[in-house]
């Protein structure tokens, strides 16, 4: 069975880290709150029947997307999974485009053709969300190879779940990135569960990513994924290493999803105590408290929350009002010429 309680103090946990400045902390909090509010709204829109297909939320897991994104700079690349709202937004993609995409509207980032599982915004370095487990690890490796070839200092970050560590593509990508010293940071969001099955039930090691790092000559890194500071510091270290030619890293961030796997799943296959223990470590209030303890004014934090809520409301409005895609758009963009014709 899965670990039923969160690790008391996972390696890399950082309750008070002076090397993160106040601005960064506020930025992290701003991000956390934005992602939280967005995901709450996405869930509501799913329940209202406006998000039609499926939707996988990062509720409870926001600190990872926030902490890593804050370590990246413009021009860097990120690759995410079907659970990719948070990772997309954290790179600065406007909420409207993301929300509208969930609703299948023409003003969505993919014009309604991608949907919740395929959010992409190339201009923000968000190189796609992939719905086949593991597939994007090799692709992210390729983006990192490209940066190396072109001699840029771009870094690629690639997010995936604990479940992805048991599929072949994980293994191939890690080895490939390691032997070519590619500037890529693999971030495993270990939320202890795959869909409805505990990762511990189907994995030969306790830490599905970290306990395998040695297979690729990499350091074993485990971090508290509910602590934005801890995630950010590890990410910064890994990103710096990648940027300066030090090659790839594999970070396992321990976290938990508040809700179910997707759609309306209540997630009630999980032991109650496990859920409660992790809910008690909700990154948003925890981080708020840390900032308060460090002397940030409650008003400042309240303002951040209000802003986030307003942004989500505005995005929701824009998405709801977004036009249904033009039927013709079903037949565009198969090919580089913009069309879909396969014959003359």
């Amino acid at each position: 069975m899965a670990t039923t309680t969160p690790p008391a103090a996972p390696a890399g946990s950082a309750t008070d880290v002076p090397s993160i400045d106040r601005d960064t902390r506020l930025a992290l909090y701003r991000q956390l709150v934005r992602l939280r509010r967005f995901e709450e709204r996405a869930y509501r829109l799913f329940q209202e029947g406006l998000v039609k297909g499926t939707s996988h939320l990062s509720l409870g897991m926001e600190a990872i997307a926030a902490g890593v994104a804050e370590a990246l700079r413009e021009g860097d690349y990120t690759f995410a999974t079907y659970r990719g709202h948070a990772h997309t937004l954290a790179r600065g993609v406007p909420m409207e485009g993301v929300m509208a995409e969930l609703l299948g509207r023409a003003n969505g980032v993919c014009g309604g053709k991608g949907g919740s599982m395929h959010l992409t915004s190339v201009e923000h370095g968000v190189m796609g969300s992939y719905a086949i487990i593991g597939a994007h690890l090799p692709i992210a490796t390729g983006a990192a190879w490209s940066s190396q070839l072109r001699g840029t200092e771009q870094v690629t970050a690639c997010f995936f779940g604990d479940g992805a560590t048991n599929i072949g593509a994980f293994h191939e990508a890690l080895n490939f990135a390691a032997i070519w010293d590619l500037p890529v940071v693999f971030v495993c969001e270990n939320n202890l569960w795959m869909e409805y099955t505990a990762i511990a039930d189907v994995t030969a090691v306790e830490h599905p990513a970290a306990d395998r790092a040695a297979s690729y000559g990499l350091e074993r890194i485990i971090v508290d994924g509910n602590d934005p500071d801890a995630v950010h510091l590890e990410a910064r270290r890994a990103v710096d290493k990648a940027r300066t030619g030090g090659g790839p890293s594999l970070i396992e961030a321990l976290t938990y999803r508040h809700g179910g796997h997707s759609r309306a799943d209540p997630g009630d296959y999980r032991p109650k105590e496990e859920v409660e223990a992790w809910l008690a470590r909700d990154p948003v209030p925890m981080y708020r408290q840390r900032l308060l303890d460090q002397g940030v004014a409650a008003d400042d934090l309240d303002a951040i929350e209000t802003q986030a809520q307003e942004a989500v409301d505005a995005a929701t409005q824009a998405a709801r009002n977004g036009p249904v895609p033009d039927i013709d758009s079903a037949f565009t963009d198969v090919w580089a010429d913009g069309g879909s014709s396969w014959r003359n």
């Binding site: 039609k52 297909g53 499926t54 299948g104 509207r105 969505g108 993919c110 309604g112 053709k113 991608g114 949907g115 919740s116 599982m117 395929h118 992939y130 719905a131 086949i132 487990i133 593991g134 597939a135 479940g163 992805a164 048991n166 599929i167 072949g168 593509a169 795959m194 869909e195 409805y196 099955t197 039930d201 189907v202 994995t203 296959y269 249904v324 895609p325 039927i327 758009s329 079903a330 037949f331 198969v334 879909s340 396969w342």
Partner: protein, 326 residues
Amino acid sequence: MAELITYREAVSRAIAQEMRRDESVVFLGEDVAAAGGVFKATKGLLDEFGGVRVRDTPISEEAILGAAMGAAMTGMRPIAEIMFSDFLATCWDIVAVEIAKTRYMTAGQTNLPLVIRTANGGGLRFGAQHSQAVENWAMMIPGLKVVAPSNPADLIGLFAAAVRSDDPVMFFEQKSLYPTKGEIPAGEIVDELGTAKVVRKGDDVTVVALASMVPRAVDAAERLQSEHGISAEVIDVRSLVPLDTRTILSSVSRTSRLATVEENPRLCGWGAEVVSIAGEECFWDLDAPLTRITTPHIPLPSSDSLEDEVLPSVQRIVETVAKMTG
């Protein structure tokens, strides 16, 4: 005695029927046991048959099908679930290059009684990577039998036949059909692979359809009759390999017209195969161009408005058939 059940319920009934009958039948896949499947189509099996025979796996599609193949070669009759048929691409080597070829390469030394069941097709707004109709991927590989039922009774009967076959069977469950209902007879249901069914009789045109396209073809036939006075015979192919060409060709010879309706994207779908066979073997009987109604050759869009537009609709079937028959 007939009972009305969903296509979804038919899945667990089918599996249970065969597991009760034969101890060597085992079932594995992702989230199939404790959770009863992501489509809730395998609920109750763990409870009835226990954790040894019904087993959750890691996300390791190659290992799942490798396990099924190795077990089938050594005396078991495994049923393996690949959650979405799109994921067959991640283990296509095991399907197309190992499972399909091993009996032949070993000159018949190896038995391969296994079933790969998978949720196939679009209509659920899941986007391009979770909505593909890929029964043609399987049809093109020599050594695979390929089945795709359109209703609960056929599902149970064909599934039983698949489990009892000593050949590997790709069993496509059309995910858009899971909530649909149909009657099933009482008692054990066992059908035969390689048999198509005439589901509606007609004289003017033969419409050949599969899985989700069968109810649409039937609806279209009703409208063709009432709105255009065209009498369409609708055939549910049910089994692509073996293919019941006798039923299809004798209908085409009689009606002199053939239209196929498939969810596959246009190029090299099973419709092309059926049309080609008719174009060779019924050529002198034909009175109209051979016509395929397909999803266009594009990945599937996620948005509901777009997806509805590109999958073959009743309206499109009616218009196309009316035109070719007119």
